[in-house]
Point group: C2
Chain length 458, copies 2
């Protein structure tokens, strides 16, 4: 049992659906190696008014590094369905394609390509699983956090969710996505190290319980970490606050507590009581941090009700995106060998060919998007930029996390105000297809339906 | 942008909440190093009648390997709140404790310890985040899959969910958890390599679309992979099946298609039509695979309605556990320095001291559990076993995946039949506390509430 069960840069090539490998073998045997165009997009937004695109950096790092180790090639070979020439091809496999993408942090809408991959069909096919896995989750996480950020206004928001997120990668990528969307800090130390996100921590109930007296625990902790936030609800919240007040009285000038954390009970009532008790004793500078089953709706209600909470620790519900744990994402072939391609099924069709999205901004407010063919020139801000050429990153694909976060802030600020709200806006944001794209879609559909002479029919 | 953003064996020590490090520093400064007991358990089961414990192997591997690299120690040191003696302690930090656990694959219920950690308090505290992260998700995933397994009866079930799961670690650990719970296969190649789980794949719509004719795509693919399953809904499902029938007619003896996959539309109707069309042409041996937004309820309905489906590919809803994306899990201090400890808050209290769970089995059926103190001898099967001593795994913690899977099968088979159903059973399974544990809980509560002389009060 010594083998690692982590995903890492060396085994990421095998992080794919088995059918990608069989299709790759088939394309190889059939000598199908012309360029394909694949779009990654979300079909319907469900409970969201907008999405915040996220995950491109992870994707580009994966594409730059993509290779099969000798061990990986041996494993594929051991499956019996693959020929030696194909295994040799895997051995020298690299991603050599072009990638177009919406900048991380940009709001996007249904059917709009977040990423377009243009590469020899086998390369573009193999990477589907990883791209969907990362972009779906990171975009979903950034979107959720953007709602929490909106609800909390100017108050501090920290990610406390790693303990119940879906595994280690989720906790890392979500911490980053949350930060992109405007969350201020994380409790996740590894995310702090890898991404440079500010870290916040208070104390756990166990620390209080391990001490013989609550006040003794507070005194010891604040002595070691001046400015720290004390968790006051281990036994009885108001008694816990009284212990803080007593500590302030006994320590006088050396008192160094920065805040108290409420983690259970009626947060509206308890925060008001806490504020009153603290203020009564001249502790106006002691902040109130709330946590425990928070989400954007509860935070909005607390603030609406005037709860004097300075900071929110938001955990499981944001961390697992529990109201909508997945997006209706897809990665679809839209062109091969210079010909537009698409699925026909009515619920799940897609848009043919290479595309561009143009956003119209009037008076500083986004007024609607047009999805067009890539070569079209339409008024508005083009959202897709080339971020990789021949397998190498371009400058547009190398933004720092701080740049991405600032871009998200300014791009979200352009959305109509009611679109940023927590409830569904009617009508939704306008996304139209250009006349030329509509025409291509109809032509492609007709060609596919044209019977034996057309493609797609036997 | 070259640093890796994966979790791996070398950086796992930093995969923790920041407050664990500050508490660790505080325990170190206060010279608190006696043994603590921490329990990992789920408070309430929510929409589930039972849970399937999963994730122990990951946890034990983490504990065996736990260490701070020089880079990790430097990072902690750079945060300014930590002293050099503490950083030296981190440098030589190893997990030296004992671990008791329910075997992976065992059904468990609310408040029952899944893992108990007994270790010097700092060690037991630091590992909280990782243990909760892995056990919560893996147990939740195994539980969901056990419901899907139940719904599907003897039919083949494959995990198709990796593309929308929450990151890479989730996709690996879920594939393993699903297999533990009786799912037959996965599409996840890396999970196939790391865990030896059988892999299944069919083909994607893009493969069909990239060919000029659907039938041409089928012919090429089946020629390369005899026995393969063809995806028939790219353009029109019944036309797709007709293409398979035509292929059988034209290929005669060389026809080697093993199955057809339906991925959209009315699966009950389409599977019946597909079966009829295939059988009419002597293709009784061609299997029908269904996929697309499946979960245990839809599968149960399809089977109840007599849909002639041989295999299910279950993706997003199982993969993200979308009806219940997290468990109400906790990791709580229940003892320190030989004294039982607990939280008092009514919704979130926990059970003091070291414990054991006894399961009564009558006539081959589980009839109720008793949570008792560790030293008690009570009738029934004890569920917690020691799996690690002084930081080293014991034989009980080294089962192979196949052994775990077989254990899950037999331990689930002992549950009352209606408890395995998809709806909430009333009354729920009986879990009682032993008289002695109830007494200890009351004594501990009284001691904590006894005012200034007791612990927990200032």
């Amino acid at each position: 049992m010594t083998k690692d069960d982590w995903l890492d840069a060396d085994n990421a090539a095998l992080f794919t659906d088995f059918y990608q490998l069989t299709m790759l073998q088939a394309y190889f045997r059939e000598e199908m190696r012309e360029d394909a165009v694949f779009d990654l997009f979300v079909r319907r937004l469900g409970r969201r008014n907008y999405l915040v695109a996220c995950g491109l950096d992870t994707v580009l790092r994966y594409l730059e590094n993509l290779h099969f180790t000798e061990q990986a090639v041996d494993f594929v070979g051991s499956q019996g369905s693959f020929d030696q020439a194909f295994l040799d091809y895997l051995d020298r496999f690299r991603f050599t394609g072009d990638v177009y993408a919406v900048a991380e942090g940009t709001p996007v809408f249904g059917d709009e390509p977040i990423i377009e991959v243009v590469a020899p069909i086998g390369e573009a096919q193999l990477v589907e699983t990883f791209l969907l896995n990362q972009i779906t989750f990171q975009t979903n996480a950034a979107t959720k956090a953007s709602r929490v950020r909106r609800a909390a206004g100017e108050r501090l928001v920290s990610d406390f969710g790693m303990r119940r997120m879906h595994g280690g990668d989720a906790a890392l990528k979500a911490a980053r996505a949350f930060y992109v969307a405007g969350v201020d800090a994380t409790s996740n130390v590894l995310a702090g190290q890898l991404y440079g996100i500010p870290m916040i921590g208070t104390m756990a109930h166990s620390y209080v319980e391990a001490h013989d007296q609550e006040k003794g625990a507070f005194e010891a902790f604040a002595g070691i970490f001046p400015g720290s936030t004390l968790l006051v609800d281990t036994y009885d919240t108001l008694e816990g606050i009284r212990a803080v007040v007593d500590l302030a009285a006994s320590e006088a000038d050396t008192f160094s507590v920065g805040g108290v954390r409420l983690d259970s009970g009626d947060l509206a009532h308890l925060s008001a009581e806490a504020r009153r008790m603290l203020d009564e004793h001249g502790l106006e500078h002691v902040k109130i941090v709330a946590s425990g089953s928070l989400d954007e709706h509860i935070i909005a209600d607390l603030i609406e009700g005037g709860a004097p909470i300075d900071a929110f620790g938001v955990g499981t519900k944001m961390g697992t995106i529990s109201d909508m744990p997945y997006l209706d994402s897809a990665y679809k072939l839209s062109g091969y060998a210079g010909t537009p391609r698409m699925k026909l099924s009515s619920e799940k069709s897609n848009l043919p060919g290479k595309k561009q999205v143009f956003r119209t901004i009037r008076g500083g407010v986004a007024d609607g998007d047009v999805i067009a063919e890539a070569e079209e020139e339409i008024e508005g801000l083009p959202l897709l930029q080339q971020v990789m050429r021949n397998g190498r990153r371009l400058p547009a694909g190398t933004r720092t996390l701080e740049e991405i976060r600032e871009h998200a802030r300014s791009a979200l600020a352009v959305l109509p105000d009611d679109l940023r709200g927590l409830t569904a806006r009617e009508p939704p944001y306008s996304v139209e297809l250009s006349a030329r794209l509509r025409r291509t879609r109809e032509e492609t559909r007709r060609r596919l339906e044209a019977g034996p002479a057309g493609i797609g029919r036997h």
